[in-house]
Assembly symmetry: C2
Homo-oligomer: 598 residues x 2
Amino acid sequence: MRGWAGNILDINLTDGAIDVLPLDHEMARLFLGGRGLGARLLWDLVGPEVEPLSPENVLIFTTGPITASASQTSNRFNVSTKSPLTDTILHANSGGWWGMQFKRTGYDALIVRGRAEKPTLIEITAEGVSLQDATHLWGKTVFETTEALGQDRNKRNVLCIGPAGENLVRIAAIMNDKERSLARGGAGAVMGSKNLKAIVVEGTQKNQPADKEQFKFMLYETGKLLKASPLTSQALPEFGTAVVMNVVNEIGALPTRNFQQSQFEGADQISGETITDTILETNQACWACPITCTRITKTSSGKEGEGPEFESAWAFGAQCGIDDLDAITEANYLCNDLGLDTISMGNTIGCAMELAEKRLLHSDLRFGRADLLPGLISDTAYRQGLGNDLAEGSFRMAAKYGAPELSMTVKKLEMPAYDPRGMQGQGLVYATGNRGACHETGNMLGPEVLALPRLIDRFATQGKAGIVSVHQNSAAVIDSLVYCKFANMAVAEEFFARTLTAVTGETFTADDLMMVGERVWTLERLYNLREGFTKADDTLPDRLLNEPVAEGPSKGFTAQIPPMLEEYYAFRGWDKNGVPREKKLKELSLQFAIEVAE
Amino acid sequence: MRGWAGNILDINLTDGAIDVLPLDHEMARLFLGGRGLGARLLWDLVGPEVEPLSPENVLIFTTGPITASASQTSNRFNVSTKSPLTDTILHANSGGWWGMQFKRTGYDALIVRGRAEKPTLIEITAEGVSLQDATHLWGKTVFETTEALGQDRNKRNVLCIGPAGENLVRIAAIMNDKERSLARGGAGAVMGSKNLKAIVVEGTQKNQPADKEQFKFMLYETGKLLKASPLTSQALPEFGTAVVMNVVNEIGALPTRNFQQSQFEGADQISGETITDTILETNQACWACPITCTRITKTSSGKEGEGPEFESAWAFGAQCGIDDLDAITEANYLCNDLGLDTISMGNTIGCAMELAEKRLLHSDLRFGRADLLPGLISDTAYRQGLGNDLAEGSFRMAAKYGAPELSMTVKKLEMPAYDPRGMQGQGLVYATGNRGACHETGNMLGPEVLALPRLIDRFATQGKAGIVSVHQNSAAVIDSLVYCKFANMAVAEEFFARTLTAVTGETFTADDLMMVGERVWTLERLYNLREGFTKADDTLPDRLLNEPVAEGPSKGFTAQIPPMLEEYYAFRGWDKNGVPREKKLKELSLQFAIEVAE
């Protein structure tokens, strides 16, 4: 194959039908792959009448045109579905090896429809595609399942759910390569609802660049940039993603104790530096990646595993008022094994802690109670006791206890580790996120904190909308190629366009890529509008809008969404209600969705 | 010295007084040096009552805290004065060796006041500061003067004016190190009006970093980034700045024949690629710079010299409808020798060509007449014939012939090589430029064309104001440090902050630097307001606002200034008339200028 394999594998678990559909080339050029192609296919397959956990929902696994080409970070893949947590369109992506291996089986996408009668697994190898009984694996953890199915990094890769997905936990992840996850929005529960335990892939085909010389040159150029950037060549390898913990804390944007404060006195104890100094065994990389940000760690009790990433360290750390790095790390391991999204899990526990402290929830849960983490996580995966509430995510849980305003979510998705009161642009990213509060779809850490590429006043609101939109579009196209966003911290989209051209033999400019990003973002917006979402959903929790930060560098600030939102809609060519105008849809070749805009 | 020398040399040519003033450390921290310090000193020294070419105007030469530290590109310096071309505040900067050498004499700034009775030169060496008779040099060209004064690159450096400056040509440059120029806005005429022919410097002191280890580390980090970026490690060394000629032409943003078209059919013949293929002898670098973008060239008639840069190749090329690279290059040499700004010279000639073609000016001048260039340039420097009109700059000349609307200027400064109809953000940069239409104070080529760091729709207007403001602030602080903007294409402000910290031993963050940039920009704005400039001056020539591009990729577009301007004032915290609000001045520690805001 050259870029695209040209094939979509289409499996209906209800009747066991296995089909191969051709990939429409025009569609591929417009949406590339990954998140974009997933959104485009989902648009046709899953309408507003479909319940996320019903057999009518589908799971769409997608790779991109550069996947498995050996271009730096060309290992990632995407899953698209309707989310059982947010009811919005959902995309989630993961690194590791599985995406590359799946691509090598000769498919660009895998659509999984229906519901199997009994636990099932899909195996895709050179011998063909088969559905197999997975009854013996049902109930097993992620680590057990991965091992039982013969995971072998560069040859045979396992993607599966753990007990959380089986039990339809709304914050369940899909896991791959043991400890990598398609984490956010509950795709694991969708997989569970289909009785699908695992997908095993063994590929033999190659993604061979159309222009080998140019491809080699781009490998060299990209490698140079990754080596030169202190972020990708030093900070991430040495300290992992949690290298930003102290930075974000120092500026007063590290949400603490369910966003009651924006600085955590224990930040340093859970920082990337401390991880490296204390629990780090070694760092590792995903396939074809020189960055090596993965942390392989060992806690003082001798447990070993991957993590914690910045977000996980924050979620079980500052968000829960916990500075015990061992406890946080083991909570991370446990989420990986049970198949849970660490951000949503930690954020939801933090919310429960506040509910308990405010006596709205009868429990001995309190901020700082690291000892309770393992039990809570396990109970969530198995829906036992309070875990059955936690399994519903923060919003449904807080609503049940009469205080939905204590849920730190947007569109019911738990917020990541940045306090919008100290980073106004990040607030707009959260408020307008198509899958809810998300840090992977336009993160403003670069411009608002790290001065990369240029520092923008983090408290300013005017003029932010344009920058946020460009970041959102950029993230959308990177998720569609699929590249890793850390690579993009050192390598501009221009280089991705040139590599894509070399791989496919078709010319793509940076302009084309940014247009794909805008197209994908707008289609996701239209999907949510079709689901009944409105402007009223583009907001933040009341606490962030109305409670000024009490202490520290962000003291006195609240998140200023309405003025930014007005600018944002205008910048995007949407009307005052956030509905894309027809003209914009035509510009983006999204005419097929025009009824929603009308 | 560590960063700042702490001394300002103050020379009054009228009475020959030579003083040394202490540099106020608080002022240095707030404005750093270069353009910022120049603006701050000029604010106090030259009020609205002063005519630019009168003895009451001053010339302020400034270096920055990193100058001569050997940090990459730490060779640049700045001149500030009131412009005889625009009547605005003027800053102009140059690379080479002179700035570094001046810093090594132990001064951060040199203020030149008054007017000498006869031609004079200033010599600053370890022996002291002296004023010397320069009658024997008056009338000599730049190359002759530089040689006569014993230019020796790493030891003794000459800055001077040529005949153009002596003859008070409003587009006269100050030249240094023979072919480097402080080009724009007519600082050469101010120097001429003072009877000051040259300033010769020989320095012996060192700018020694406070933290040597950290400084060495930053040298290494910065070097890595400069080596990794294809722009600074390959495109600029190999093809020079004119590497962007074909790119800007292809997108329909290369102003042609006095901005009547936005694509030039002869672009490739005057491009960086063609320069390298035909006339390039070798490339060279300024002091302490690894980029080596200087072109040393030789035309087919055997003439040798430096250039042309992109802007010069455009000004005598596309702007005049000329595709004869030899003629363009020799026009560039001639401007260097006579001491003229190539952008304003070429742009003004293009305007004269249109006036002649439209029969408003009686002349055989026509677009494409490369043969007439040497005579026109020489006549301008000596104010002979039509040259006496050209010497007034495009606006005054076009007004004299009854067609000021044919002058492609903002605030009377000739526009550089980007058509705002094809790059809307660039239009806003031009319209709001404090020294008039300028490409060095917030250039949008990166985001609007090169996808560096991120591609932004070049036709979009909404949301541009924020990005433009950030770029303007960034350029202002880079000009104050003083670094080279090409370095900034590969190295973020964050790194400059860390180097500055290492050099001075005082902590500066990227945040601090961006604040300096905003402070400098705002002070320049206030200076112009004090001079009587208003919102009405923040505009573009009628042609760009009302004549849509007729052909090519920018077809149908005009420049949309009013909506962007409204956003721009709001983003900057200025009122609807473009006057900075008191609150903003307090935020920026500009209280001393508060009467203007009131």
